[in-house]
């Protein structure tokens, strides 16, 4: 038999197993766990052989052992064993992984009593599941199939570059292998599409900077020096000089207009693109992603982060470029005009930049804090507003107001903290910067008086004007920290979403069944939302095309999970689900969605008219078809009672339908879809018996030649089912026709009796 699953086992441990008379080479499964028997952290190794397994517990210690030939230090590992035990497969019952609060333990029945085999922390829960599965396979079949253990998803939980685990399994992003520079580089890629505008903007910036340089020259050197030294020639040219000044101003204005227009276009386009990308990625993610996150938080993410991006492209980036160019030009001019004076001027600049770097860190944190507070504040608002009915019915308005007040205060405090820092830090900083200008006045003045280095009064004035031109960019560069850190935070979150890899993925080479008839088969399917807590455990059944299968069982038996698996909202962990003989993992999404429609207990109607909601399933459906579908679903009658009929606008904040009405609309939606396979998951639970009967009759027509899976508590709902299965704790407890099940006197019989008795107590039979 071949080895099927191996964790990394240190050589010293392998040596230890060998010294205990075992052959590690023969191990089918080798696993590493991180806890010891006492429940303390330690190192525990388990090897499974064809006839038994061995557990070694202890501590690995490392010590330095000289150098390797390549100069790197050599590490010697030692395994200090605290416990070793061998188990014969025949003596051990089926092992169970018991998930405790944050750790777990695997136990099995040995000699009539349960006992712990080994402990593990949640980091190793997958290993524990592998062990249990392998032992039970081995006991049942005497062998292990490699394919059952090649869990491709598990492999992909590790970053291929650095080998570390992804922090989030749904988002396959490795933060270690992705740095901020890359982040910006990726953003720059977004820019490439808008080359034309960028070039326009760049030219415009250069012009702005150049014009900015000319103005001080005209204003100071010409006006002061020339007027002072040669008034007559200036008087003759006064018209031209004024004209020149006006032209410069107008030119600057025109350039500014072009810049504004270009940057607005780019920003709008990029924001649109980004929003679209985020939304598309989000919709592609599997359902598991959403159940793990608050919708309010996601909403803030999509809205505010793309807004931040807008500011980045519209305000931040153009100014950054402009300022860098302007700074470079001004500095160059100043140094060519008066080297000594320029050097004096820039004495304070390094100091400023050191402070700048330090501030960058502080503000980064403050902005992140404000964001998180706002986010949790927004979550609270959406939470309370959605649950307003409950708030009011328990008259908890005051408490909610208090909670709101507290959160709002937290958000305000974070904002205050930030603004407070800004208000205190920046004026100080600018003051430091301004010391430079006093230096210019002092030394420049001296130079003018001594006429050193050809310094004139006009040139000094121009110099001071240039100096003011540095303030601008540097001041703005300081401002840049604000949006820069805000933006970086936003980008991080954005890419976090756009980089997410959906757990449920479409097959690369999808297969379309040749003869789509709608036969469904579950083959030994197991599924768990959380590892080691199986919701579905080895379920097999088949529904021949055109027949109806009823599924009964207690709440939490896994009925709805079966529906989720058939629609591929989640993927099965073991076994396979087949439609027309093809594994649904191999079907193209479009085909699967087209073949299977589900009416579930949770109905969701979008904001819009009833017509739009019914047509959601098939936008090109005609009005007649919509009415027919509504009639079939017994929805027509209540719809025409509404003033606006099918055009009645429903949804949050508009007309609210009752639970039963919503269900009928969603049934109409499914009917319009005309799928080959229809799943009714407690679809009629919120209706009165009479309406349900009406729908039942309609559904009879609908389900006649259609594969239907009906999940229900009420047995009356299932009276047309060709076959029934009763689920219990994720397993098929019994299956057969209603008569057969009644004869078996099992779960179905008991349910039947209970419901019959319930009717008896109110005097009906």
């Amino acid at each position: 038999m071949k080895t099927v699953f191996v964790d990394k086992i240190p050589s010293t441990v392998i040596g230890y197993f060998a010294s205990e008379g075992l052959d590690p080479e023969q191990a089918l499964v080798s696993l590493r766990f991180d806890m010891c028997e006492s429940g303390a952290f330690g190192d525990c190794f388990v090897m499974l052989f064809p006839d038994g397994f061995a557990v070694a517990e202890g501590y690995l210690t490392f010590s330095s052992a000289g150098k390797r030939p390549d100069g790197l230090p050599r590490r010697a590992e030692d395994f200090h064993v605290t416990g070793f035990e061998k188990f014969r497969l025949a003596d051990v019952g089926e092992p169970k992984a018991e998930q405790l609060i944050s750790t777990g333990r695997v136990s099995a029945e040995i000699g009539g009593a349960d006992r712990v085999l080994f402990n593990y922390s949640s980091a190793c829960k997958h290993g524990a599941a592998v062990f249990c599965r392998a032992v039970s396979e081995l006991k049942k079949n005497g062998e292990l199939k490699e394919s059952d253990f090649a869990d491709e998803n598990y492999e992909k939980h590790v970053c291929p570059k650095c080998g570390r685990r992804y922090p989030d399994e749904e988002l396959k992003v490795c933060p270690n292998c992705m740095d901020k520079a890359k982040l910006v580089k990726r953003l720059a890629k977004q820019f490439v599409k808008y080359k034309k505008y960028i070039i326009i903007m760049f030219v415009a910036f250069t012009l702005t900077a150049a014009l900015g340089m000319v103005t001080p020259y005209i204003a100071n050197e010409i006006l002061y020096d020339d007027v002072l030294t040669n008034p007559a020639s200036v008087a003759a040219d006064v018209g031209r000089i004024v004209l020149l000044m006006v032209a410069v101003r107008v030119g600057a204005l025109a350039v500014n207009l072009v810049t504004g227009a270009a940057s607005a276009t780019v920003a709008a386009k990029v924001t649109y693109d980004v929003k679209k990308t985020i939304f598309n990625t989000i919709s592609d993610l599997s359902l598991g992603f959403f159940t793990n996150r608050q919708t309010g938080g996601l909403m803030t993410q999509v809205n505010s982060d793309s807004l931040t991006l807008y500011w980045f492209f519209c305000d931040g980036f153009p100014y950054l470029v402009l300022n860098v160019i302007q700074l470079a030009v001004v500095v160059a001019v100043m140094f060519t005009q008066n080297l000594v004076l320029a050097l004096y001027t820039f004495i304070t600049i390094p100091l400023f930049f050191l402070a700048f770097k330090y501030l960058f860190r502080i503000f980064d944190k403050l902005y992140a804090k404000r964001y998180s507070r706002r986010r949790s504040f927004n979550s609270l608002i959406s939470d309370v507003l959605n649950g307003m009915r409950v708030v009011k019915s328990f008259s908890r308005e005051d408490e909610e107001m208090r909670r709101f007040g507290a959160k709002s205060k937290e958000a305000a405090d974070a904002g205050f903290d930030l603004e407070n820092h800004i208000a205190r830090v920046y004026p100080l900083l600018y003051y430091v910067l301004r010391i430079g200008s006093y230096v210019v006045w002092a030394f420049g003045g001296l130079q003018v008086m001594n006429a050193a280095g050809g310094m004139t009064y006009g040139r000094l004035m121009a110099f001071i004007a240039y100096f003011a031109l540095i303030y601008g960019p540097i001041e703005q560069l300081a401002d840049v920290t604000n949006w820069w850190s805000d933006s970086l935070n936003a980008f991080q979150r954005l890419f976090e979403i756009t980089d997410a890899q959906p757990e449920v993925r479409e097959a690369e080479e999808p297969i379309i069944p040749e003869e789509p008839r709608g036969a469904v088969e579950f083959r030994n399917v197991s599924f768990s939302y959380v590892e080691n807590r199986k919701v579905i455990d080895g379920v097999s059944f088949s529904v021949p095309a055109g027949t109806m299968l009823g599924i009964v069982g207690k709440t939490g038996a896994g009925k709805s999970t079966l529906a989720n698996l058939l629609t591929r909202l989640y993927d099965v962990k073991e076994g396979e689900v087949l439609i027309d003989g093809v594994n649904i993992k191999k079907l193209p999404f479009a085909y699967l969605r087209e073949s299977v429609a589900i009416v579930s207990q949770e109905t969701y109607l979008f904001r819009g008219s009833i017509l739009e909601n019914i047509r959601y399933a098939r936008p090109e459906a005609t009005r007649e078809e919509v009415i027919e579908a509504a009639k079939t679903a017994s929805a027509h009658d209540f719809i025409i009672k509404m003033p606006d009929g099918y055009d009645t606008r429903i949804g949050m904040g508009l007309k609210e339908l009752s639970g039963g009405e919503k269900q009928r609309v969603s049934i109409a939606r499914a009917i319009l879809r005309d799928p080959r396979i229809l799943i009714l998951d407690e679809a009629t639970a919120a209706m009165d018996t009479q309406t349900e009967r009406g729908i039942q009759r309609a559904l009879e027509k609908l389900t006649r030649d259609r594969t239907t899976v009906v999940i229900a508590h009420r047995l009356s709902t299932l009276r047309n089912a060709d076959r029934l299965i009763a689920l219990e704790d994720g397993k098929v407890a019994e299956s057969g026709t209603a008569e057969e099940l009644l004869k078996q006197k099992g779960v179905y019989y008991k349910l039947y009796k209970l419901q019959a008795e319930a009717l008896k107590t109110v005097g009906i039979e």
Binding site: G39, A40, F41, L100, I101, S102, T103, R105, S107, I110, G111, G112, A113, D114, R115, V116, S121, S122, A123, K125, R165, P167, D168, E169, L171, V173, P175, N176, M178, N292, R293, Q294, K365, A368, K369, S372, R375, S376, Q492, R493, F495, E496, V530, V747, K750, L751, L754
Partner: protein, 185 residues
Amino acid sequence: MDNYLDLAKITYLDPADSRFYVTPGGFPGLEAVLPEFGDDLEQDSEPPMKKQDVGRVWFHRCFPFETPDEYISVLDRDGREYAMIRDVNEFPEEAQKIIRGELERKYFCPVIKSVSSLKEKLGYSYWKVETDRGPMEFSCSDTYRSIARVGGGMLIITDVDGNRYRIDDYALLDRRSYKRIELYL
């Protein structure tokens, strides 16, 4: 009916009439006056009470954070409640040891004494902490949501794998550690 408390009865274990012992496999076992479960579906009334040895039992704290020693549910293999322990301290010492031992194993959770490093990259945070079980490193995906405030100053931090760490009172952390986590509170 004056009070809804009449509708359901909480069965408390009588410390004087209950015997906790260790099963051969090392798990807690119990002999006491307990309900005799039949088949759920056929049961209409409360199951009859009977003095019996039910073998291995499971524990679950009702209020794990606020009153870890009180209101402990005693369950059977399928998660049905036999009875409730009102307060562990009411039981004889031997029984307390068995119950506490099992609870400690189940609610295993290192207590963070100080945070030596907390870095965030791309929304994930990387923690280096000192705990009562030695230095540990772990990472959280959605940091804000990974930290749960559970009354008072207690924080429960859940890492990417679902392992938990506890901070008994964040106000009592040293200044540097507090500064590091402050952002996420």
